[in-house]
């Protein structure tokens, strides 16, 4: 393993730095708070000649994703980044990128959707794309942003997958917060990601292909079935790629990160930066003798159902924290966890807490409160509760 290089950087800089080392052929992006620093850093790398990437300073997120689709279909390694309403503006093409099986990697700096206008973190932007056919990874900190971006390239481009990946980081909390990040040497990253092997590139004029045909009731369904299969393959491929990444970095990734789970009876499940805060509370409660634990979700799409079942079956209670809502239905992560536990031999008591919308702070007191509700068995499976909300 190469010698360690640790730098104090923001999540946005970690994202841009990983991109710099990956050095995609094309980056098309439009600035939007809080994603803007990623684009700014990258534009500077390009301007300074530190990367050979061609950057397309598009006029909207819609065109960002459209250009990325064009570039990736042409045979280039292409990346982009966005947030919130920018992602929502891309929505149509987000689906197209996945359905064309283009191995694009995109940073999503999570931010609340309008209205009212809000620039702070929640997961409603990414959750609105959860059925788009993209792989979704959620990062707890800047280190994970850096690592998972590099890992995402290999996952996306794997021949059994060929699907785009969204690497999510919490807006401002991670994107603008400075933390130490251990960086890998350029050549190690370059060797890890390797060269893109384009499949059916448009620029191969000797083998002309047609992208984006009209696909009616006699074939469309079959093409969707292929996408379903590719998503299933992610469950096989991800551990292999994670293992290879471990070899170069010493850092282990999986679908989920169990924290003090061995004998835990009361378990919290969450996405993103809140997991770090939960770890702090778990430590604190453990010191007081409570058997609590955390199951951090790294991969939300495809949803690692078997892993969830393995870790949660037989626990006394499971508390699911969602930083987004599904109006008129259960919150997305909770719904998925609840559904996964339907077949469990021994189902835990379940509780759903929505928190942090529009950047509302989530602190250890609130997490402790949620754990206490679980430990007092005051959870009602069909009753959504809210952390940090004024009644």
């Amino acid at each position: 393993m190469a010698k360690k290089m640790i730098q104090a950087i923001t999540g946005a800089e970690a994202a841009a730095y990983a991109m710099k080392q990956i050095e995609p052929d094309v980056v098309a992006a439009y600035p939007i708070t809080p994603q803007t620093p990623i684009v700014e850093y990258y534009a500077k790398f390009v301007a300074d000649g530190l990367v050979k990437t061609e950057m397309i300073p598009v006029e909207s997120e819609h065109s960002a994703m459209s250009a990325v689709v064009g570039a990736a279909a042409a045979g280039a390694r292409a990346m982009t980044a966005t947030s919130a309403v920018g992602l929502a503006l891309m929505h149509e093409i987000v689906y197209i990128a996945a359905s064309m099986r283009l191995p694009v990697v995109m940073h999503v700096v999570n931010r609340a959707l309008s209205a009212p206008l809000n620039i702070h973190c929640d997961h409603s932007d990414a959750m609105a794309e959860r059925d788009s056919g993209w792989i979704q990874l959620y990062c707890e900190n800047a280190q994970e942003v850096y690592d998972l971006t590099i890992l995402a390239v290999r996952l996306a481009e794997h021949e059994d997958v060929r699907l785009p990946v969204m690497v999510n980081q919490d807006g401002f909390i991670i994107s603008h917060g400075v933390e130490p990040v251990e960086l890998l040497p350029d050549e190690v990253v370059k060797a890890f990601v390797g060269e893109l092997k384009p499949l059916y590139p448009l620029l191969d004029t000797d083998h002309p292909v047609t992208y984006g045909s009209l696909d009616l009731y006699d074939y469309y369904f079959e093409h969707k079935r292929q996408q379903i299969e590719a998503m299933k393959n992610v469950l096989k491929v991800f551990p292999q790629v994670a293992e290879e990444f471990y070899k170069i970095s010493g850092r282990k990734y999986n679908f989920v990160e169990p924290y003090k789970m061995e004998d835990a009876q009361y378990v919290m499940v969450a996405l993103g930066s809140t997991n770090g805060t939960i770890k702090y509370v778990v430590d604190e409660l453990r010191e007081k003798g409570h058997k609590v634990g955390l199951l951090k979700i790294w991969m939300f799409r495809p949803f690692p159902k078997a892993e969830i079942q393995r870790w949660l079956t037989g626990r006394k209670a499971v508390v699911v924290l969602d930083r987004s809502v599904s109006f008129g239905a259960e919150a997305p992560l909770y719904e998925a966890i609840k559904s996964a536990l339907y077949e469990a031999a021994s189902r835990p008591l379940l509780g759903s807490f929505v928190y942090g919308l529009g950047g509302r702070d989530i602190n250890p007191d609130l997490i402790r409160y949620a754990f206490e509700k679980a430990m007092k068995h005051e959870l009602v499976a069909d009753q959504e509760m809210y952390l940090g909300l004024r009644e």
């Binding site: 448009l202 620029l203 045909s213």
Partner: protein
């Protein structure tokens, strides 16, 4: 200068044009003629065309899975983003060329084809962005003056008086009231561009503009009048003739704007009244039956007259004064 038609026939005896038979456009549709003329010009000059298409008639009718009527690389992404998509393709080309990953000797030509809906309306932003960024691509608008793919709805290009399903000729309102957008001037306003109009009935003019577009160091735009025989409600064998009439009536003047310099490429010695163009098409039938039909036609005549005078003046004023 473009090859004469007989010479083109020789060149393409055993050579792929790029669009093939077996597409499902209406009989007599002008759009496939336009595509043929554009791609033949590029190929005859040794270019390798790569084609992007906006959603529309041409798109759905040429690529019904598992069939494709394209024998050149082709991508359709969505309705409103063909310019952004082809800018991604073109940028990928530059990046990969720089990296030595594609043969250096290949001459690529990047085309974006779109109808008027995908250009004047929903695709305008994407087009403007790609023009401003200066990608080297050729945008070919096949203008059939409405959303014909979905059954004749009004677009920003539909002329006043035309009967469409979303601006129908009713008892109160005589169809579409507004004039067309001047898309060529909108494009020309991006300054570092080559923009031109053309018609299938003037193939040498059309193909020489394709040649100029290919040679132009920056984005190029061709606005080609492309009749929809079905919803213009006209004889399907007359789709070429009517575009000649469009030029002769000043309805579709032939000109080009190169970095702000205007040049009229066809100046007929005498003009026909615009009513001749209008009366050839059933889409104007209902408006022509109205008591105020003469007035509506007169307004259109005044407009095309003034626009022609203005074009002459612009040609004079911008001579040898490229804006960039």
């Amino acid at each position: 200068m473009p090859l004469p038609i007989k010479k083109l026939a020789e060149v393409f005896t055993n050579k792929e044009i790029g669009i093939t038979q077996g597409h499902r456009m209406c009989p007599g549709c002008a759009a496939p003629m336009v595509v043929k003329m554009v791609l033949m010009t590029a190929k005859a000059l040794g270019y390798e065309p790569v084609v992007g298409l906006a959603t529309g008639c041409l798109e759905v009718s040429t690529t019904v899975f598992p069939y494709t009527a394209w024998s050149v690389p082709y991508i359709h992404n969505a309705f409103e983003n063909v310019a952004a998509t082809i800018s991604g393709v073109e940028t990928a080309y530059r990046a990969l060329k720089k990296a030595g990953k594609i043969p250096a000797d290949k001459k690529y030509a990047f085309f974006a084809f779109a109808g008027d809906g995908g250009t004047y309306d929903i695709g305008l932003q994407s087009l403007s962005g790609a023009l401003e960024r200066g990608h080297k691509f050729i945008y070919v608008l096949y203008d059939n003056e409405g959303y014909m793919n979905t059954g004749n709805q009004r677009s920003g290009s539909t002329p006043p008086g035309a009967d469409t399903t979303t601006a129908p000729v009713g008892k109160q309102i005589p169809g579409k009231l507004q004039l067309k957008k001047n898309i060529v001037e909108i494009v020309a306003g991006h300054e570092n561009v080559y923009a031109a109009t053309a018609v299938p009935a003037e193939p040498m003019d059309l193909m020489s503009k394709v040649e100029k577009a290919l040679a132009f160091d920056g984005p190029a735009f061709l606005a080609i009048l492309s009749p929809c025989v079905r919803f213009w409600r006209m004889d399907e064998s007359k789709s070429v003739d009517i575009t000649k009439l469009a030029v002769e009536t000043k309805y579709w003047p032939l000109y080009e704007v190169e970095r702000g310099v205007y040049r009229i490429t066809r100046k007929p010695s005498s003009f026909k009244p615009v009513s001749e163009f209008v009366k050839m098409q059933g889409r104007f039938r209902l408006v022509l039956e109205r008591p105020d039909a003469d007035q509506i036609i007169k307004q259109l005549q005044d407009y095309v007259d003034r626009r022609w005078e203005r074009l002459l003046a612009l040609e004079q004023a911008t001579k040898d004064k490229p804006i960039r």
